[in-house]
Symmetry: C2
Subunit: 309 residues, 2 copies
């Protein structure tokens, strides 16, 4: 048995006017709850320190940059790292990263139980668009504010297992899980901010959005025989509702725990990494069953090429 007691720290809304330190205070409070419940790893959402700012159209780069972190930890986030070290809890959370070279990424990190950063990931599948889109009910400007990640999907050995990360829309793409699965991933940590309504199809509401969230996470878990920990920032941010639905999916694809609110809420499960072994050695023994000679276009071809009429 290789138990990791995971605390999934769903967060309720963060308003545009809220400060970093207000968010950090809430994260520390969730960390304290997690300590009481014996957690050794706590996972927070995507862009955990601020509102989901890509819904706001901005033209002034200086204004855009106010949503980004130039160092990690920095003055605002240091108290979170300090508390995590004190509790001996590894943490993972997402934030907007501005590099010394001036590059912008939607990033998440993973620390060990001494609060050292041991893993970093930059979001690859950026949804949305880069220019103001009058056809949408609201904006989703991730392609405007972020570059696609440049690190691939790395995995990290820590806490006796193999951990990977992805962020929000990455979870809908089977390639995300497979690239990590091919590196033996045993737990995928992912945060998300998902509007409760599809901005391009108003009829697609929260029930559908939660269904697609579950479907993507459960399939990724099952098809790679890995734990998947998906943690939302939910609730109403300045009039824009987002789904909660944070959940942990087991390596057999089943949901073992799921959030009940759209607010700050800790979901806890003792995840045995050894539960990954059966699937990885039988039905999803990649070495025995995959046939890469027939997968070529997955990596040769980005878009659809239909057969001739």
């Amino acid at each position: 048995m290789r138990n990791v007691v995971v605390g999934g720290a769903q967060m309720g809304p963060i308003q545009k006017a809220d400060s970093r330190s207000q968010a950090i205070e809430r994260m520390i409070s969730l960390l304290d709850q997690a300590k009481l419940q014996g957690c050794t790893l706590v996972v927070f959402p995507e862009l955990a320190l601020t509102t989901f700012f890509p819904r706001w159209y901005m033209e002034d780069q200086a204004e855009v940059d106010t949503w980004f972190e130039r160092e990690m930890p920095g003055p605002d986030t240091q108290p979170l790292f300090d508390r995590a070290r004190e509790h001996a809890i590894a943490i993972s959370f997402g934030y907007a990263e501005l590099t010394p070279e001036g590059l912008h990424y939607n990033t998440s990190i993973l620390t060990d139980r001494e609060a050292n950063i041991v893993g970093k990931y930059r979001k690859i599948h950026l949804p949305g668009h880069s220019e103001f889109d009058p056809e949408r009910d609201f904006q989703h400007l991730e392609k405007r504010y972020f570059l696609p990640g440049d690190m691939g999907f790395p995995v990290t050995r820590t806490m006796g297992g193999i951990f990977g990360m992805c962020i929000c829309n990455d979870r809908r793409w089977p390639e995300t899980y497979r690239v990590m699965g091919l590196q033996g991933v045993e737990m995928v940590l992912l945060g998300y901010n998902t509007p409760s309504v599809n901005s391009q199809r108003p009829a697609e509401g929260p029930a559908d959005r939660l269904f697609h969230n579950r479907l993507s996470l459960q399939a990724g878990a099952y098809q790679n025989s890995t734990w998947v920990v998906g943690i939302a920032k939910g609730g109403d941010e300045d009039g824009f509702p987002m789904i909660g639905g944070s959940l942990i999916a087991a390596p057999d694809g089943k949901i073992v725990v799921e959030a009940k609110t759209e607010d700050d809420e800790l979901i806890v499960h003792a995840c045995d990494l050894d539960d990954c072994t059966f699937g990885k050695k039988t039905i999803f023994d990649f070495a025995r069953h995959r046939r890469i000679e027939h997968y070529g276009i997955i990596t040769e071809q980005t878009g659809v090429i239909e057969p001739a009429e």
Copy 2:
């Protein structure tokens, strides 16, 4: 609107002692039902003409070959093609194929509404094993009796849309759907024979097996915005129970109809191929969102390579 009225022709068990013509008689009866319900396409299971013979260990190749078809249509199957032509119903079904060169495949075909074969697929992800395995509760010798398919995952333009096929265990592999998705597939036809119990883990019973079936089909449909038609041979074949659970999943991943029995049963749904468009043009617009520069190991590497300790 581009409606295809699909009849999913689930079949109950075929015993080892049953003849091809007994199976064909049942298939024709399902075809007649489908005609009455206005179907334009009927999908039958994997290895629809015989029992699921890979559960039987055989050493004599001549005996093995009795389960295979040397021509399609052949004398036994011609009546099925004739009735399909008469009803103007396209059909798809699976059978064991022995080629003139002596090669063995687990194959499925698709005809147009004039009973001309317009698509062919040979199963790529063969599950199971090739030698007698005393550790299993029962045998699953697909790797013994079949070669892995050599045709890739081709798609076919017919009936106003783009159709693809896969077979049974293929459905658990996201690569299957993605290779077809990259060719613009709008409907994936797949037959299966799935034991109700995992031969390597008796605790994994029919509820789990049905759950994994649904999960795989729904995820494949959603993530490629395609219809998926999954049709079982179910019920008890000579003491070996198999799940039914035939279903049709819509391009948004939702199940629109599902079989209620483990016996011969027709499920019917009018599938509008235009329902694929929204997903393919928005969240799963591959050309805009996929990042093949980070998918390399999916096609470079068959098995798992873990990071260094």
